[in-house]
């Protein structure tokens, strides 16, 4: 096998002295899936931005197919066959798939007067046939109407369309459901089978082991090791990433459950288009209890959580906190009753991206007495509180004046979790609380969640990660198509059984099927 990408002595120093990459050597074989593994801030993305021409390295050289190159812009990288698929897609939402794919690379006819859409269409069909993508049917659909997984495949086809041989994926699974992630790994196999090379940035150990041929671990801007995926274990990778041994699954102490804190009775909720998404859900969460909701994304979890938190009104049923019916109470009143909420959409909902961390620290508590000074907000107190969040939850960079936008996804998440947990809540609704955070922080967030629980806080946990749900929850409600298929104790079911429940099947039927 020949070497597709060779990086030698890459160092990237930012103005201000931050060394994001420190003398990194890396060789990537053609036709392989090579994973860059590391915690948030380890320098993975910076290294790839150097390769992609977004950053100029302070020192070091890049070779593509044994040819020394120096890219000044991503355009240069693309002409050398290097394409990058970013964590947040670079698609124009209202434009069709076809328009998005050809954007900037349109073949023309009539002497440049018109775009040759027929040629584009042929090319896209050709590509999707060759690589087995089932997206040709959406050719004229605006991409905003496609699922996230399909949008990602559009990104892949777009990159193929531009003639890329080397694909860089920046944390591609952070926006995907487990099923979509599996589909993506199938795409990887198709691509490598055709001789394409894949570099895949990740911090999720299970998917790294599932998808990679070789793994390079980065920590604090340095290369720690490169090893074969075969034979590597999660524990081994985790300790290389973090630099110490890590507890991968939470150690849950059983807590005596107290009074019922959150009760949802016969609750039905519609989405924005008037579709019934939650259909007659009953659930009760007690003090000191973690109630997990497992299910494939899009089965009504978001709508249920929004109805509980006061962001969406239910069409039927009631939501009660400590026995008080809050169905008609505003979001603000519910916050004041001690409800903390970690939403799945942290960038859109939980943070004002153009505000500083300090300004974000008071979001939701802007009327709270703790932050009141005279008739205004006590910014000094808010600032102190911000420092506390940053310190306790290891938010990097530890700069309260930094804009939320400038933080990486994992650090944004840590900040949100910190703010919501330090609010002194009685009830925590956590949707995907560890999505996008690294292993070390995940461990910490789990510990904090369990600690809250020991103090008698009631927790409703929604997660796409079965490991998370089963290791933390006291009871698990499995949601399918807007209602609970079953409510089970985590120790009494296997992951396979949970998977079946998530698909909407009931357990006894499965048991009878097996006995036959």
């Amino acid at each position: 096998m020949s070497v597709a990408v060779q990086l030698q002595g890459i160092t990237k120093r930012f103005p201000g002295g931050v060394v994001a990459n420190d003398d990194i050597d890396l060789e990537i074989e053609q036709g392989s899936v090579h994973v860059l593994l590391g915690e948030n801030g380890a320098g993975k993305t910076t290294l790839m931005n150097v390769l992609y021409g977004l950053y100029e390295p302070t020192a070091g050289t890049v070779h593509i197919n044994d040819e020394p190159v120096s890219f000044e812009t991503p355009q240069d990288a693309i002409t050398h066959g290097v394409g990058m698929i970013h964590q947040h897609f670079t698609l124009v939402d209202p434009m069709t798939m076809l328009e998005n794919i050809a954007l900037g690379w349109e073949p023309v006819r009539y002497g440049g007067l018109a775009v040759d859409t027929d040629a584009i269409e042929t090319e896209i069909r050709d590509l999707s046939d060759r690589y087995g993508f089932d997206i040709a049917e959406h050719m004229h659909t605006p991409v905003e109407q496609l699922s996230v997984g399909a949008q990602q495949r559009v990104e892949v086809v777009k990159t193929l369309y531009r003639g890329a041989d080397i694909f860089i994926f920046d944390e591609p699974t952070s926006v995907l459901t487990p099923q979509e992630a599996d589909q993506l790994f199938d795409v990887f196999s198709e691509l490598t089978a055709q001789g394409k090379t894949i570099i895949f940035i990740s911090h999720k150990l299970d998917e790294v082991l599932a998808a990679a041929d070789r793994i390079t671990v980065l920590r604090d801007g340095r290369k720690i090791d490169t090893l074969d995926a075969e034979g590597a274990t999660q524990d081994q990778l985790a300790s290389k990433m973090v630099g110490r041994d890590v507890l991968l699954s939470a150690d849950k102490q059983s807590v005596d459950r107290g009074e019922p804190l959150l009760s949802v009775a016969d609750c039905s909720v519609d989405d924005d288009h008037g579709m019934r998404k939650v259909d007659g859900i009953d659930l009760t969460v007690h003090e000191g209890e973690i109630f997990g909701i497992a299910g494939v994304d899009g089965n009504g979890q978001t709508e249920l959580v929004e109805a509980i938190t006061g962001l969406r009104s239910q069409t039927a049923g009631t939501v009660s906190i400590r026995g008080t019916d809050v169905s008609e109470r505003s979001r603000r009143e519910r916050i004041e009753m001690g409800l903390s909420y970690i939403p799945g959409e942290r960038q859109e909902q939980a943070l004002v991206l153009d505000f500083s961390l300090t300004q974000n620290a008071v979001l939701g508590s802007q009327h709270h007495d703790q932050f009141r000074h005279g008739r205004g907000i006590d910014w000094a107190a808010v600032r102190e509180h911000t420092d506390r969040i940053i310190e306790t939850y290891d938010v990097r960079p530890p700069d309260p004046t930094a804009n939320a936008r400038s933080l990486s996804g994992g650090n944004q998440q840590k900040f949100v979790v910190g703010r919501e947990f330090l609010r002194d809540p009685d009830l925590v609704i956590a949707a995907h609380p560890t999505r996008g955070v690294d292993v070390g922080s995940m461990e910490f967030i789990h510990e904090q969640l369990l600690a809250l629980c020991e103090q008698g806080v009631a927790v409703l946990l929604v997660s796409a990660s079965l490991d998370e749900v089963t290791s933390l929850s006291d009871r698990i409600g499995v949601m399918h198509d807007g209602s609970f298929v079953d409510v089970v104790k985590p120790e009494s079911v296997t992951k396979d059984q949970l998977g079946l429940l998530m698909a909407g099947e009931s357990l006894d039927r499965e048991a009878t099927a097996r006995s036959q």
């Binding site: 930012f14 977004l54 812009t73 240069d76 979001r331 939403p343 909902q349 004002v352 802007q366 008739r375």
Partner: protein, 395 residues
């Protein structure tokens, strides 16, 4: 192509990350550039024009207008003596109110193009209220103590209602506030003209002119010549209002909610901010401020309602954008517009330079000073929508 895009992104990046000090320096430099370009325009216009005695002749070429003299007269006309300074500050005062009327809703993500209508209706309400109240209030000091607040309150209240209306339409029926406020301007003028014509016209004067408001309600001049119609107390009041709103927006919970709603509505809802409240509050407040501006216009400047209100409502939009919609920055921005107004008139009358050229000179300064700010606004929007990335940043 890619080099160009990268350069544009970098330009946006530089503009967005400018500090306040750098922005002020940039604005000052822009004024200098505008003056330079303006001088060339004046030379050109002066060369093309015909006049009896050329103001300047160089190398046998004769120019009717002297560029240096022109800008000197502009400065003199704006700040030359206490009367001229008073006229500048009179315009500035009105622009501070209408500028604020744009800036507050902008912070909540709303575009109030209706300051003009709120100003006109406010001024009408003030006039009517004062004409009515004059009949039942005693004259002298006591009358003044009653009539001044009545006039201001009437203007503010009606202006506020006229701002609440598009706010309510926006909240209840999702009517785009740009369109509704814009159209309400015409309705306001029509209402005012009909009302004054029918019920309050001064029988001794032609045209749509109301009777004069009682002298007790006139906000008379202090320190400045009384003929200039400028009250330092009103100016101080306007500054106090600016400071108050600056504090409200930066330090109060309501201000925080308004800014959150304007920056990221979804996050605002997450944080328990009521969209209904911020929309209605900011639009009503905008109307109140513009309406008070209208009251001041009647009680300090005109003394009666008449047609042809100056476009201070529309100029207020430019004043606010130039100030980056920051209440405190409205003062320098408003001063610039006020000075250009009074100085422009001086050029026109003293040097005989046609008003069109004066308009070009004013336009140049506004254009060059406002362009970087406009690009900043534009760039921020692009960045917010993820269409450009202006900061490399770290991982």
């Amino acid at each position: 192509m890619s080099g160009l895009t990268a350069r544009i992104e970098r330009l946006f990046g530089v503009l967005i990350r400018l500090s306040t000090g750098e922005r002020m320096l940039l604005s000052s430099a822009a004024v200098l550039v505008a003056v330079g370009v303006g001088m060339i325009v004046i030379l050109g216009a002066g060369y093309a024009a015909t006049c009896r005695s050329p103001a300047l002749s160089v190398f046998g070429l004769e120019f009717c207008y002297n560029p240096i003299e022109t800008y000197f007269v502009l400065l003199q006309g704006a700040f030359g003596d206490s009367f001229k300074l008073a006229v500048t500050l009179q315009w500035t005062t009105l622009l501070l109110f209408t500028g604020l009327s744009f800036a507050i809703p902008y912070k909540a993500g709303l575009f109030n193009i209706g300051a003009q209508g709120q100003f006109v209706l406010g001024s009408l309400a003030t006039t009517i209220a004062l004409l009515w109240a004059a009949e039942i209030t005693p004259s002298g000091m006591l009358g003044r103590l009653v009539l001044v607040p009545v006039g201001l309150l009437a203007g503010g209240a009606i202006g506020g209602l006229y701002g609440l209306l598009p706010g309510y339409l926006k909240h209840r029926f999702e009517v785009n506030e740009v369109i509704s406020t814009l159209l309400l301007n015409f309705i306001a003028t029509a209402i005012a003209v009909v009302t004054v014509d029918r019920y309050f016209a001064d029988p001794e004067l032609q045209g749509t002119v109301s009777r004069s408001i009682p002298t007790e309600a006139v906000l008379s001049s202090q320190l400045f010549p009384s003929s200039a119609n400028f009250s330092l107390l009103v100016f101080a009041f306007a500054l106090l209002v600016l400071g108050g709103f600056y504090w409200l927006l930066t330090n109060s919970a309501i201000g925080y909610e308004i800014r959150t709603m304007g920056t990221q509505p979804k996050a605002a809802r997450f944080g328990g901010v009521s969209e209904r409240f911020t929309t209605l509050f900011s639009m009503t407040t905008a109307g109140v401020v513009a309406g008070v501006g209208g009251a001041v216009f009647i009680m300090m400047v005109l003394g009666r309602w008449q047609t042809g209100a100056p476009p201070v409502g529309f100029d207020g939009i430019a004043v606010s954008i130039l100030a980056g919609n920051n209440p405190l920055a409205l003062l320098p921005s408003g001063l610039l517009f006020g000075a250009l107004q009074s100085g422009g008139q001086a050029i026109q009358f003293q040097l005989g330079i046609p008003s069109e050229i004066v308009g070009v000179l004013r336009g140049l300064i506004i254009l060059l000073v406002a362009t970087p700010e406009l690009f900043r606004l534009f760039g921020t929007q692009l960045e917010r929508r993820g269409l450009i990335t202006v900061d490399g940043g770290r991982e």
